[in-house]
Assembly symmetry: C2
Homo-oligomer: 327 residues x 2
């Protein structure tokens, strides 16, 4: 990295978008020297983080997430907030371009002085993309962004990852029920805090209301994440700027409730602990992958386990013994 | 362990319940010498495992799981099968006695020559119970049991753990809807393959049918785990032995379908891989905990992360560096 940690921190704090982007590239890197510098940087900015509202946003492709984020972001800005847009995409290698790949999708928001849009990390690493959205978020917070909107395409584990780093989880739904719902990722209904039925117009209002009723029934079967919070199901049109302010208000209401009950802080502490555990595994994995013979051994023992050559715990022990006897 | 690996294997293969129990105690142990012997044992019995039908069973306390297992087990036995009953209970320290704690709960089944009942592991280990139900299952399979019934109380992560080691997941439901459903663990509806509404009698038949309708609606919102399988919702009474044979048939039907589509084998391979990953973590954790200073360091760095003294990834790196520089 041709920028020093000091330069990057100064850039972050002065809101220099180019340097913010550079700092994010740094924390996304898996290279040893980058990780060291990244840790230095994160340590320094730590005191300036944690003050934003972290919003996770999900929905099937075609639900209108980009349009929603664009217009919702502008509402937040017109209410005096600074907005950063990030994406989580653990399988970006497969779904290249499907998520924030094309910055121009949010042209209007991108023009705003108080908006920062970051496409998802583009490269995989030995089959896995490092999940550094949390650290990217820290940088945005240190740069003074009040709302961090994190988009997910709803593939693989992405919702769980988003849920693990946000304060409120928003689900964008389009009209329809039954089969069409097959597109919904398992478990999503149990993570949502606010639902927005998008693309509602005069002509399909009744259908939208039916969808709301169906969703309500489904929610009856699912315990609420937060006590005293009934997941609201709002109707509107992101394209026509209808119903977005209501979402903005509901999010504020939800955050207020969580702060009042102490859940806001409790959940953030749990999230930090999870991040710690995640990184312990990540760093141990990195150490493993540094050594090609170890990486091959991992793959081999795993294959032996799945081919039932021997049982999984035996194969695991053989591997761990190899790993820890190495230097 | 005062029994040699050979004695235990011989005992398992001859169906000696006392020695089967001893072997299970061995694989449940976290002591170094026990783990070594356990791995030897598991390696030897490996070729004789994998042939059972593995059934996960869940439901809120009061759903009648014990009675169901007792009478369902006897039906399987009367159809020429050998049945083993296990329990997963990752939080047994908290819920002591709530799950298979009292063997006498299944008096009639316990008397059967072709049944083996194993209470859940009773002791915690530094805050976590080793999850060795998979390995216990291997022992039961090597001993010739055709059906392994695994009960879970539905606390914490237990359903996910059960789902990760079974072929079919059965959900016991009692009549009622709405509030009472709060007791259902998040995500459970998305794991079930067969639902049994228990405690149905003439007097509450209409209510039971309403519950079935509600469940059906809820299921409409949840993608089926297996293509071509519509989760059946059966009515009956475990106590009066009504509807249990239908469950037995539905399970067979489901297993046949999975075998036909190849999903049976595919899922089992995935499960083996997961077990391998689980044990890699477990053994690394064990190595960590062996060293008291490392264990203290882990707790301290985690606490620093959650107290926001520094960011989680920095704390994780500090810890991993300590861990890997040790011997």
């Amino acid at each position: 990295m041709k920028f020093s940690t000091e330069e990057l921190i100064k850039g972050i704090q002065s809101g220099d978008k180019r340097l913010i982007a550079k700092a994010i590239t740094l924390v996304e890197s898996k290279k040893d020297e980058h990780r060291n510098q990244a840790e230095d940087l994160l340590k320094e900015i730590m005191p300036f983080t944690g003050k934003s509202i972290r919003v996770g946003i999900t929905g099937v492709p075609g639900a209108g997430k980009s349009t929603f984020i664009e217009n919702f972001g502008r509402i937040a800005i017109s209410n005096g907030k600074k907005v950063a847009v990030l994406a989580i995409d653990p399988s970006s290698a497969i779904n290249k371009g499907s998520i924030l790949g094309d910055k121009t999708r949010m042209e209007e928001l991108a023009k705003e002085e108080n908006a920062f849009i970051r496409p998802s990390p583009s490269s995989g690493f030995l089959g896995g993309v490092a999940n550094t959205t949390f650290e990217t978020m820290m940088i945005c917070e240190a740069a003074g962004y009040d709302y961090i909107l994190i988009e997910t395409v709803g593939v693989g584990q992405s919702e769980v990852l988003v849920n693990d780093i946000t304060d409120v989880f928003l689900f964008l739904k389009i009209i329809g029920g039954g089969d069409e719902l097959q597109g919904i990722k398992r478990g999503i209904m149990e993570m949502v805090d606010v639902i927005f039925i998008n693309k509602v117009e005069e002509s399909n209002l009744q259908k939208a209301k039916n969808t709301r009723l169906e969703l309500k029934r489904a929610l009856d079967f699912i315990p609420s994440k937060e006590k005293d919070w009934k997941v609201p199901i709002l109707l509107g049109s992101a394209l026509n700027n209808e119903g977005l302010y209501e979402v903005f208000e509901k999010i504020s209401e939800f955050i207020d409730l969580k702060k009042k009950t102490g859940r806001f802080e409790t959940v953030r502490i749990q999230q930090s602990e999870k991040r710690f555990e995640y990184w312990v595994q990540e760093y141990i994995l990195t150490m493993m992958k540094k050594d090609q013979s170890l990486e091959a051994a991992y793959a081999e023992h795993k294959k032996n386990a799945s081919a039932r050559i021997s049982n999984p715990s035996t194969e695991a022990k053989l591997f761990v013994d190899k790993f820890l006897s190495k230097d």
